[in-house]
């Protein structure tokens, strides 16, 4: 089965004309790859913007308020106004800060977030690069976040920021283990790290999704989701920011555009993590058709299905933030080390047993014939 990435399709479409015009091939290849990259980066930024809007509106609904309603219809372009405001803000770098690290940190956070988007299958053949190490790649780049947070906390030369940075380091590395282990439960079933293949081995109906593959993958989904909340620094695990404790944590000294880069990264990662959860556990954009052979309108339908699963997950993440108090740092770490990691391990071992006993089949899910 031949698989095309979007970039290869673009390359095929334009290669003849472009080569005829005398454009050298390497330029063409880079251009073909740059187009989906730009689209996805803009998608993530747009999603981040819309998520800030959603957060404001949902929190307002939860709290009996009206929320943003001044800029645009229903306040829809409020996030653009905020962006413009942050854009025009003075960029303050404190005296005692380590200037190089201080400037570098937001880029590391942002690139580690958007890099994860490369392997997220948006449904159909819409995936920037279907790497055969997709899941490992996501785990690797999301652990880069630690470096960015720690760097920003350290470079600010501010005690609150330092505490926030250290907290985020302890938190993100701790929760990385249950995240990885819960994803491994699914890798056991599929035998591949490629996200596109993971999506393709599921189906349209809920019983064909990996969350309902066996009881342990069901548990793994929730472990993954909660650990992902912790990795994204969302309430109830928002210790690195913890505005009532650490004022604003690692980004307390940041202002203007640098601050907003942290913000875009945070909301972008909500979208990506939800997308990942949807793809791995909830069938992604799979509607039972081959994504590479289907006509374009079916592929767009797949994208729609993917978003129909991702957006509710994003909303749940927002919902949780406005209903839950914050845990304490030691309780959070205890929860990870004493509960999540053993449970994740148990899930992994139990999934393996399940697969051995039932010959690779799930409760409803059947191993595709070789």
């Amino acid at each position: 089965m031949e698989q095309y990435s979007a970039a290869e399709k673009i390359y095929e479409l334009f290669s003849e004309k472009a080569l005829a015009l005398g454009i050298p091939e390497p330029v063409l290849v880079i251009a073909a790859y740059a187009i989906p990259c730009l689209v996805v980066i803009n998608l993530i930024q747009g999603a981040a913007g819309m998520l800030t809007y959603a957060e404001r509106k949902i929190s307002a609904d939860i709290q009996n308020r009206i929320g943003a309603n001044r800029v645009g219809p229903f306040g829809l372009i409020q996030f653009l106004a905020d962006g413009v405001k942050l854009f025009l803000k003075e960029d303050i770098i404190p005296d005692a800060a380590d200037r190089k690290l201080f400037k570098l940190a937001p880029y590391i956070v942002l690139s580690s977030t958007v890099l994860a988007a490369i392997v997220v299958p948006f449904g159909g053949s819409f995936i920037v690069a279907d790497l055969n190490i997709g899941l490992i790649f996501i785990i690797v780049v999301s652990s880069l976040l630690v470096v960015g947070f720690l760097m920003s906390g350290w470079a600010s030369n501010n005690k609150w920021a330092l505490l926030g940075g250290i907290r985020s380091a302890a938190q993100i590395i701790s929760y990385e283990i249950p995240t990885a282990l819960s994803l491994l439960c699914i890798v056991l079933i599929t035998g591949t790290f490629s996200l596109q293949e993971t999506v393709m081995s599921q189906g349209l109906w809920p019983w064909q999704w990996f969350i309902f593959h066996n009881p342990f993958s069901f548990v793994a989904f929730f472990i993954f989701f909660v650990s992902a909340l912790a990795e994204m620094n969302r309430t109830p695990f928002d210790f690195p920011e913890a505005e009532s404790e650490l004022v604003s944590g690692y980004n307390v000294e940041y202002s203007g555009m640098r601050f907003s880069i942290f913000f875009i990264a945070e909301y972008g990662s909500i979208f990506i993590i939800s997308g990942l959860a949807a793809a791995v556990f909830l069938g992604g954009g799979n509607i039972g058709l081959d994504p590479y052979e289907s006509p374009l309108h079916m592929q767009l339908l797949m994208v729609g299905v993917f978003f129909a699963k991702t957006v509710p997950l994003c909303l749940v993440i927002i919902w949780v933030r406005w209903s839950m108090p914050r845990l304490r740092i030691d309780q959070m770490l205890t929860m990870c080390w004493k509960y999540f990691i053993p449970i994740a391990f148990a899930c992994l071992v139990a999934t393996a047993i399940w697969l051995l006993v039932f010959n690779g089949n799930g409760i409803f899910w059947r191993m595709p014939a070789p």
Binding site: Q63, N64, P325, R328, Q331
Partner: protein, 403 residues
Amino acid sequence: MGKIEEYTVKRDADRTDLKLNMGPQHPATHGVLRLELDLDGEIIRKCTPHIGYLHRGTEKLGEDRTYISALPLTDRLDYIASMNNNIGYCVAVEKLFGIEAPERAKYIRTMCAELGRISSHLLWLATHALDIGAMTVFLYAFRERAMIMEMFEKLTGARLTVSYPRIGGVRNDVTQEFIDRAHAFADEFPTHMEEYETLIDQNRIWLKRTKGIGIITADEAINWGLSGPMIRGSGIAYDIRKHEPYDAYKDVEFEVPIGTEGDVYDRYRVRMIELRQSALIIKQCVEKLPRGAILDPNAPKFTLPPKERVMTDMESLIHQFVLITKGPMTAQEGEVYVATELPKGEFGYYFVSDGSGKPYRMRLRAPSFVHASVLPLMCEGGLIADVIANIGTLDIVLGECDR
């Protein structure tokens, strides 16, 4: 060998990795409290509260004003519950002058004091929950607080600094509309309470953050001079409304809730029950509200005559002139201490009088001041997050603490 051990012990004793100032400009220190924290990682080794950022010399200002014109100063002490401050002040001055407010005024005062208590406790609940991270409780509580603010506005013309009670009574009578609203509010308030409790009361995270945190035993509570919900949370049923009833508290029925463990959660429960009890008191006050005067017959000696009377009536003009320049002159020489139960705790007014229209000495016993001193006891050995929970549970207002 011995040398190494000695060194280790010494290193541990003075081990502070980080000195951190929490406040005065910090979102969770409820105003301008400053805590100097010596941190060992996230653990508090030493906690030193610094106060005085909001010091305005209220005690000294009071000595420079007549008894009448010092009343608005008390609004600015505990600005969350200014009505209760006013009432405490009036009760104290009344005792000094040997007069008493008429029954109707007493009931109105009690009703207003309980409304003020609800408003103060709601603000406490809102900020306490916000500090622990439950952001939604904040706006739920503010919704009901706004109702009380509106009622105060209708009654007194002001929402926050009301200056409503007068020496020997209250400024103006309540309208039927106010009474209806108060009754309706007291009726529906428990259902709103359930909304807050749905969010946090049984929430696992909330319990984890509040149970076993900031424990104060009954002995400690007495030794540190705590009062109000702080001492009741430790299991001592000390409530001035019961022990030395003022105004109409002897005629209304209410319970004094107490905690068992003396931790943050117990104090939270105590305040939540107090909120319900306050609503009950308001209801009783509305139902029992007697008819009659709202000012003591002697009140002209303490109350400024209306403006149009001053302009047309000679006697009133002289009366106003004397009251403004010299103050009420009928105080006996001596001293008086009157404590009232404020939402925060025991608020005492201590006056020394030399018979003139101004107090010779005015001293305020502010519960927040006393409670702030207990912070090191609660915080040391805990984590940064516990400091926040502890500040929240103290329910301090720095306007009153710094005076």
